[in-house]
């Protein structure tokens, strides 16, 4: 009796989520996949053109420039966000005073909409009107061209992204830390293990499932970061902070070439899929602590 129930139970548990998913995400996604083989201006019916969009994509120098720029951005944002959110979570999981207060502070930027974050940073970093350059001036230092130089603008966009996302992943790590049994640390203390050894041999390995979530999600989020950059730099100076999703959105709704936008999305999907598989493989290497 219970064997039969155990067999059918997982399907029932997963069903509600799966139904909503199938109707609202999977079906539209398949449609989007089809659109990548068509020419579609959204207003009239899609027209099948085979691999035309993909050929255009592979021949476009602009696409590859944007892609490599996106990769630089993503691979800067992800490690910094990961490291910082983990360190903050570990510090704020300890028995320190006012930890609720500190958690809230680091989570604050997460609560703001991306539009406000983008506007605020542009406002703070403005060459002439920005409060930061004004303060530098008061302190007798030369103003910095924060957003008008391609390199500093890229760095500031990365900084703003990390600033906006660290609190979010910190909360995930804090939740994950609660799952590590306290007895391990007590045993380690008796054995005279240092703080670093405790982290190296208990916290880090046992946090692996959460770490995987954070790496995978922060990678996906960075690839899809849209509103913040659109408002903060409008992709500039020039196009030096224009990334893949900006280009997808531009093509889809400004230019009205949904087919090409979908083809780029398919590429984005493949890249992210590949990265995610790699991340899972790396995480499983040396055996998962729990499986």
């Amino acid at each position: 009796m219970y064997r039969w129930k155990k067999k059918i139970a997982p399907y029932l548990f997963v069903l509600p989520n799966l139904i909503i998913f199938g109707i609202f995400i999977v079906f539209p996604a398949l449609f989007g996949f089809y659109v990548s083989f068509t020419e579609w201006d959204v207003l009239t019916s899609p027209e099948f053109i085979g691999l035309g969009n993909f050929i255009k994509l592979f021949q476009s120098a602009e696409f590859w420039t944007i892609l490599s720029r996106t990769l630089i951005y993503v691979f800067s944002v992800v490690p910094i966000t990961f490291g910082l959110s983990m360190v903050l979570a570990i510090i704020l999981d300890r028995n320190i005073k006012a930890k609720g207060f500190f958690r809230a502070i680091f989570y604050l930027p997460t609560m703001l909409s991306f539009i406000v974050i983008g506007v605020s940073w542009r406002w703070i970093l403005g060459n002439n009107f920005g409060i930061l350059n004004y303060l530098l001036d008061l302190a007798g230092m030369a103003p910095v061209n924060w957003l008008t130089n391609a390199t500093t603008a890229t760095i500031m966009v990365i900084f703003a992204t990390v600033w906006a996302r660290v609190g979010y992943f910190m909360v995930m790590f804090i939740a994950g830390l609660q799952g590590i049994p306290g007895v391990y640390y007590e045993a380690a203390k008796i054995d005279g293990a240092s703080k670093w050894q405790q982290f190296r041999h208990i916290t880090f390995p046992l946090l692996k499932p959460t770490s995987l979530v954070v790496v995978v999600l922060s990678t996906i989020q960075a690839f899809k970061m849209f509103g913040l950059i659109k408002v903060m730099t409008t992709g500039g100076p020039g196009d030096s902070t224009t990334y893949l999703v900006q280009e997808i959105y531009q093509q889809a709704f400004q230019v009205g070439d949904m087919g090409y936008a979908s083809a780029m999305s398919v590429m984005l999907f493949l890249i992210l899929g590949l990265l995610t598989i790699v991340q899972f493989k790396v995480s499983n290497r040396g055996g998962n602590a729990y499986e």
Binding site: D41, G126, N128, F129, N145, G238, F253, Q254, V255, G256
Partner: protein, 417 residues
Amino acid sequence: MRKNLFITITALLLVGLMAVPAFAQETVLDFVWFSDGVEGEVLKDIIDDYQEENPDVEFNIIEVPYNELNTKIKTMVAGGNPPDLARVSNPGELSSALLNLNDSIGQDYLDNFVESTHPYVMVDGEMLAVPIDVTANGIIYNKDYFEAAGIDVPDTEEELDDLWTWEEWANALEKVVEESNARYGLAYDYSPHRWSTLLYQAGGSFFSKDWSEVTINSPEGERAVEFFVELHDRNIIPESIWLGGENPNTLFRSGLTAMHFAGNWMLTNYRDNIENFDWGVAYMPKGKIRSSVVGGKFVAGFKDSDNKEAAVDFLKYFSSQKVNAKFCEESLFLSARTDNSKLNYSFGSDMFEIFSNELAVSPPEAGSDWAYNEAMSRIYDDIRQNVVKSIQKEITPKEAVENIEELAESEIEDMEN
């Protein structure tokens, strides 16, 4: 406990699914609208007046931010649920979804509207919208700064005979920075549309008037890029706007720049927000010729709407002389109607006159280029990129116009396939 929660939620979901909106007896017109200032409020007044005569017509105004206007309309249309009316800045973008007004209103009706609006409205021989108001690019200046520098700014028709040239204008802006508290001469909107004003003043254009040729790669086009780069090199325009996205309105409002290159839409904003100094509108300098750039707002119906007749009726009402005058006067807009060219504005009549005069001397390309939306939307960003790259000295002005030409030609070829 958990089970109860589950049942409650399921029940709620079912109720939600079944709550299909009931069909009302009256006609309800879905009207997609966006606002910069008070025009949304004025529209509501006008609708109230309209409803007194047409009590069976209801309006559902869907206000959206301008940036997302296309997203909203396109999803509604693609989802088989088009609005009945929409305020748009370029009917060509939505041409395949809009209602052809040739029979219901008739092309003759367009004779009532300034000619520069016609290419926006007529797409492939079909009249797709009704013009409501027009916009003109122009310059707004800080009177205090120019007075301090002892520079006379042309703002009367008498001064038009001896209008400043590009060079004199640039020198004046440099002098203002020296002689007043202004830190920079000019705040110039980060927009290819605003940049193109210089292109037309230089005597150039993006396309020929009939859209058959790409004309940007010309000595005039090159000169327009070159002069714009020069304005940056001489630090007259702070590079933080075109390279860093700093807000030009803010720079002008805070008194950091002596002049703002924008358009008539800034008047209400500055009226409400500037207290610390006197400001006014000046005539733009002339290059080879004088020119502004025309833009406009239109209202269109939709071909798959369920209430086409009611929509057309309101279009006629809204664009009629009296109603249009009320709308433009109260919103402080330039009317698109020729018979409303002189309106009684409660504020800044002299400034509006400057803008209308600028429009009157603009060449036809300054309108037809921007009405050629299908091509323009594809190269818009590239224009911006190439101008920026010229400012950064990565390419020469010559290369910039060559790049834009090449892109425009390949996009047009792409469109035709």
